[in-house]
């Protein structure tokens, strides 16, 4: 059986023909393959003082010093008598001192290795390639991620290197059951994607499903883990994400120990996890490290109320002003009426105007250079806000409500994007249909969320459906000693996680 290699220049080489090729021919194949790319280097030298050898590598992604010292120098200085058939084995086992080496039979394998930071060595007419890992990809140092800072607790965060990220996990989970299954994804980018799970805990069904979904991806390139997230989501058009994200190894470790599967993507510090529950975003690393259980319960309820106020308050305010002014106590009604007297817009238009203004300021502050931040604050808060109120264009209660909800959206930063859309929807519904519309929209939202599943796990678990055991880490958090079992909502093989503490 023959194996064919396709080259853009229409030259097809049979596997059996490889040992007939000279260094010159091999060199031309590789140079053509990489279209005379200037960073592709070819070094010809004599190994073991008699074998013409040729070394291929990419200049900027390998450690040239290591290459010189541990490969070229060793081969050139060695004078052992070796037969032509044994040269590859000898060089690999007795000569070259680089840790990771591999013997390859095909040009396409050699090309793949070269692109991943390996150097490839070919001995004249020997028919095999020898490759060594001398890569030197530069990456950011390990630092605390800006999106998930903790007061007391581990501060390490993932960076863009998949090797570093796997190292950070291996360092924490020193167990032979920790499985890392790596594969390249993307026709052009060949981005390394690693599926990480604990074999004795994670459900095989979930692992297989994730693996299948990743293998089925046919795309030009994976630029960030978000691309994989889209492929993993069962309803990718949904407003709500169905895949968890984290930037810290301690968080991923705890999720792996609960039976989840993690997906690390080279080039992204964001690690994905499935199955995902909505309640995950209400939980913070801080909840587990220093705060006592009652305090955590209080904080989680605060976050929950924060979310509810953030999405409902503008809608209720508009609904009350337009339809249900009688709902307000008399003194409150007088205050609101006085504040809104003379405003040229309807309550709905007024609130929508301020919301859009606020969203615009938020977007601008994200994109604007940091040294202009102070100026933006002054323009946004003082000039736009204060002047608009003084000019009688908008009322103070409306500005206050939008500002309050804008701040409260960030009590759960991972859901901020979804919540701001919901705030807009509920405001519109409140302005058109009043409280009845808001209630209908709420039931619709709840029905929609209860219908969402993430890899066999109900999105709103442990509350809908009710899973009593899992509620111990829900809105009310129990002491660590009470959490003896892994979450039932997440499929897993091993139920018990704590026997004695």
């Amino acid at each position: 059986m023959y194996c064919f290699f396709y080259f853009p220049q229409n030259n097809t080489i049979r596997k059996d023909d490889l040992d007939k090729l000279t260094n010159k021919e091999i060199k031309s194949i590789f140079v053509d393959k990489f279209h005379n790319s200037t960073d592709f280097k070819v070094r010809e030298f004599v190994s073991l003082q008699k074998f013409d050898s040729i070394l291929f590598f990419f200049d900027n992604i390998v450690d040239v010093k290591r290459l010189d010292k541990e490969v070229i120098e060793k081969l050139m200085q060695d004078s052992q008598e070796v037969a032509v058939d044994d040269i590859v084995n000898y060089a690999c086992r007795c000569c070259i001192t680089v840790g990771q080496g591999e013997i390859l039979d095909t040009v396409s394998d050699a090309v793949e290795k070269l692109l991943n930071g390996f150097c490839v060595l070919y001995f004249n007419k020997c028919g095999k390639f020898l490759c060594f890992d001398v890569k030197n990809f530069q990456s950011r140092s390990i630092a605390e991620p800006p999106t998930s800072a903790v007061l007391k607790g581990p501060r390490e965060g993932f960076n863009e290197s998949i090797a570093t990220n796997i190292m950070l996990l291996r360092k924490r989970l020193k167990n032979s059951d920790l499985v890392i299954s790596q594969m390249p994804v993307g026709k052009y980018s060949q981005t390394q994607v690693a599926i990480v799970y604990i074999d004795s805990i994670a459900s095989d069904e979930v692992v297989n499903k994730v693996s299948k979904k990743i293998q089925e991806i046919d795309i030009d390139g994976i630029i960030d883990s978000f691309y994989i997230q889209k492929a993993l989501e069962e309803r990718s058009y949904s407003l709500f994400q169905q895949v968890g994200t984290a930037e810290k190894p301690d968080v991923i470790m705890s999720k792996l120990l609960e039976g989840r599967v993690a997906i690390i993507v080279d080039g992204s510090p964001i690690v994905l996890t499935v199955p995902y529950l909505l309640i995950e975003d209400l939980q913070s690393s801080n909840d587990y490290y220093f705060a006592r259980a009652p305090r955590v319960t209080f904080l989680r309820l605060l976050r929950m109320f924060g979310i509810l106020i953030a999405i409902y308050l503008p809608g209720i305010y508009v609904a009350v002003q337009v339809f249900h002014y009688k709902v307000l106590p008399y003194k409150f009604l007088v205050t609101i009426t006085n504040a809104t007297l003379g405003i040229p817009f309807t309550p709905l238009v007024e609130i929508l105007f301020i919301i859009l203004l606020f969203e615009g300021l938020t977007e601008a502050s994200l994109r604007m250079p940091s040294y202009l931040g102070l100026a933006l604050s002054i323009v946004g808060a003082l000039i736009l806000g204060d002047t608009a109120v003084n000019a009688g264009l908008v009322s103070s209660p409306a500005v206050m409500i939008v500002a309050l909800t804008g701040v409260l959206l960030f009590t759960v930063p991972d859901q901020e994007a979804q919540l701001s859309i919901l705030r807009l929807i509920f405001t519109l519904v409140g302005g058109i249909l009043g409280l009845y519309g808001i209630i209908c929209a709420s039931v619709f939202l709840i029905a929609y969320l209860t219908n969402l599943d993430s890899y066999g796990t109900p999105f709103l678990a442990p509350y809908a459906p009710n899973v009593r055991e899992d509620k111990k880490d829900g809105f009310r958090r129990y002491d660590l000693r009470a959490m003896k079992y892994r979450p039932k909502s997440i499929p897993n093989k091993n139920k018990i996680r704590l026997k004695k503490l």
Partner: protein
Amino acid sequence: MIKDITGRQAIVMMAIVMCATKFFILPSNLITNGHQSVIYVMLLFFVIEFLLLLVMVRVSMLHPDKTFYQLLTESVGVVIAKIVYLLFFCFFIIKLSINIIETYTFFLGTLYDELSSVLYVLPILLLAFYMTYIGLRSIGRSAELLWVFVFLGLAVTLIVAIPNADFGYMLPIFDGGANNAITILSNNSLWFGDYFVYLFFLGKIKFDKNYFPKFAIISGLVMLGIVFFMTLFYCIFPYISGIVHYGVSDITHITTHINNIGQLDWLNVTLWTFASIIQTVIFAYCAERCLSDLFNIKYKYLSSSISLIILVVVLMLLDFRLTKLIMFVQGPVHFLFPVLLVIALNIITVHFIVRHKEKRQKKLAGVIYD
């Protein structure tokens, strides 16, 4: 058979369905003419409903994998099963009409100065269509999530209203006459019988531990809660109950000792709206199931759309008016409830006779071959 809902979800749904619209216009409607005697008769009425419901629960536990339609066809044949389903379909369409018109009137009287019937009915129909389409699993989970708010509303109502009630008005028992009370209740019987929806959960419940006692306790408490609410309503408005139309709102509205914390009745109305919507959705689901089994419609969206279109036609015929609805419910269709009651009783009796015979035969066969 896929188990769509858990036992807990079934209990919660039943609890919401049984009490959702009984606190709006019904108290005023019943008590105006029957006085306190209606409440005592209603208590007896609930005892019968309670027992019937428990029998249904027992049947569902004996046949965990059979739907109501399968049970019916096995015990009485396809033709009678289809006739029963047709009657049930009419029942649920009327229940939906009662629910929607009553809630619309309630909103007009409490929340809004003006509300277009089209604007009111459109969101609820869309919601009913969507939730019916996505299925019982989602309805069950939504009910499970919302029941806390609904019963919080009920608890607040009862607690806040108790100080204003003079329970002396409940005596003497049967002051207005028991016969009169029975007539009033039978005329308004279509406001009751919500427990029939349980039949459409058959075969879809994943039974939890201690399901039966939990179900009995919760449904019993809900029924007692309704009776207690009616009692409170009568004891607060003994002479003017006829003109106090919106029970759940008005009962807290007049409470003077909480005026300093705002108008609690609004919160109450809002919370009860959730219950009313869940009830509407469950009735829509049952109507869809009836239509689907009646004509073997495979596509949910089709059966759901047809049942909702029929509902819209009924609503248009009733002109969205409560007076027309009451006349309709007390007139041409009030036979429906007793008929269904008799059917349900018969089906259950037949089922137990068949089951008893089967058991006896098995026992005899066991004796012979042992």
